[in-house]
């Protein structure tokens, strides 16, 4: 559930990822791995909600950590973020979708159903990356 504190809004604002291209090793769009890009797609959002939806989970986490910091002190969000980082590392092989069960349990979204569970479920995605290339990319060999 949302936990919002008014005072947390006064803290320094946190930068939020926009539609900037996924830069490859040379700072430009990596066409081989991510496909062709178009300037218009990166500069303007195609829908007013696109940016806010893309960053929704990020913003929620940041707000919650800010409130937690104001209530319990700096140690609380630090410990939690350490646990999040550990839970985020539990993944399947690179080309398979993972359930993120540990991360969900930590966040409290394991008993919450939203549109992300009903629409565009990544488990039912029709596209899959080539296993060899994905593993090589993950290991940095490619």
């Amino acid at each position: 559930m949302n936990t919002r504190g008014l005072r947390s809004q006064l803290k320094d604002s946190v930068p939020v990822t926009g539609l900037c291209p996924q830069a490859g090793p040379y700072g430009v769009q990596d066409s081989l791995r991510r496909g062709f890009s178009s300037v218009k797609n990166e500069l303007l959002p195609s829908h007013p909600l696109e940016l806010s939806e893309k960053n929704f989970q990020l913003n929620q986490d940041k707000m919650n950590f800010n409130t937690l910091r104001n209530i319990q002190g700096l140690h609380a969000p630090l410990k939690l973020q350490m646990e999040y980082r550990a839970a985020r590392q539990i993944q399947r092989l690179p080309f398979l979708p993972s359930s993120n069960l540990a991360l969900d349990t930590l966040r409290g979204s394991d008993d919450y159903i939203g549109f992300e569970d009903i629409l565009n479920d990544p488990v039912q995605s029709e596209m899959m990356g080539d296993p060899h290339i994905m593993t090589e990319y993950k290991l940095g060999v490619l």
Binding site: N2, R34, P48, L49, Y112, I113, M127, M128
Partner: protein, 286 residues
């Protein structure tokens, strides 16, 4: 076409990939003079009233698609939990999916707390979800139920604002229904009086608003009991076609009755035919 070799998994939820394409198509289509298909809406009259022992929710049953009636008997009172029901106006798919999601979440929440869910919880969940989508989910809801703290009634607007009131109306026929409420509402009514008031308010919406029509559904929620009356009142009965006149089917029959034209003379000439040749052709069934 080049294929992407490294596939990033999308997190799920709404996908905005086709928005630019749709905007271009929309512009092209309007240039040609056509219009893109309209979403099915429930141009509606929904209302609710708090009475002595609980809550009465009422709704009409017409669903429209532009200027055409898409469904003459749709159900607009949705189940949220055993003691909470929700009427929905606006885009039909949005109200359906939103109420189903909130119903599931409330069930999980109730299992986690071990208590009967409260109406304020459902209200908070709905308003947070609708505000997140900034009004793009077109669902205007009337949420009512009875929990441990008594009967509650909320109205929830598509952008996420809510009002907690003793009587509320929503939808295109809300003004007609509100007029009836403002005239005849009084606190702590009896059940029959409350049901009659809601029925009259919905009927006012049905007869004075083009977007509402057909029957009146009622839902009476009290502590421990829910009466889902569907239909409570068939205000608009569809006419019945005359099927039979004097034993003859009338629909689409152009035959005249025997004896319509008087017979003056009758001449019968028998034709004697001889069978000359008889042959049987077998059908090719291979």
């Amino acid at each position: 076409m080049a294929t992407v070799s490294v596939c990033q998994y999308h997190p799920g939820g709404f996908s905005f990939e086709n928005c630019k394409r749709n905007a271009l198509l929309e512009a092209d289509i309007t240039k040609l003079g056509f219009s893109s298909p309209a979403a099915r809406k429930t141009g509606t009259t929904i209302c609710g009233v708090v009475y002595k022992d609980g809550v009465v929710l009422g709704a009409d049953t017409r669903a429209t698609e532009g200027m055409v009636v898409a469904d003459k008997n749709c159900s607009k009172i949705h189940y949220i939990s055993p003691n909470i029901y929700c009427c929905g106006a606006g885009t039909a798919a949005d109200t359906e999916m939103t109420t189903q999601i909130i119903s599931s979440n409330l069930e999980l929440h109730a299992l986690s707390t071990g208590r009967l869910p409260r109406v304020a919880t459902a209200n908070r969940m709905l308003k947070q979800m609708l505000f997140r989508y900034q009004g793009y989910i077109g669902a205007a809801l009337v949420l009512g139920g009875v929990d441990c703290a008594g009967p509650h009634l909320y109205s929830i607007y598509p952008h996420g604002s809510t009002d907690k009131l003793p009587y509320v109306t929503m939808g295109s026929g809300s003004l007609a229904a509100m007029a009836v409420f403002e005239d005849r509402y009084r606190p702590n009514m009896e059940e029959e009086e409350a049901k009659h008031l809601v029925r009259d308010a919905i009927a006012a919406g049905i007869f004075n608003d083009l977007g509402s029509g057909s029957n009146i559904d009622l839902c009476v929620i009290t502590k421990g009991k829910v009466d889902y009356l569907r239909p409570h009142d068939v205000a608009n009965k569809k006419g019945v076609r005359e099927d039979n006149i004097d034993g003859r089917p009338v629909t689409g029959s152009y035959r005249y009755k025997h004896g319509t034209t008087g017979v003056l003379t009758k001449v019968v000439i028998p034709l004697n035919l001889e069978v000359v040749e008889e042959s049987v052709h077998t059908m090719d069934t291979s």
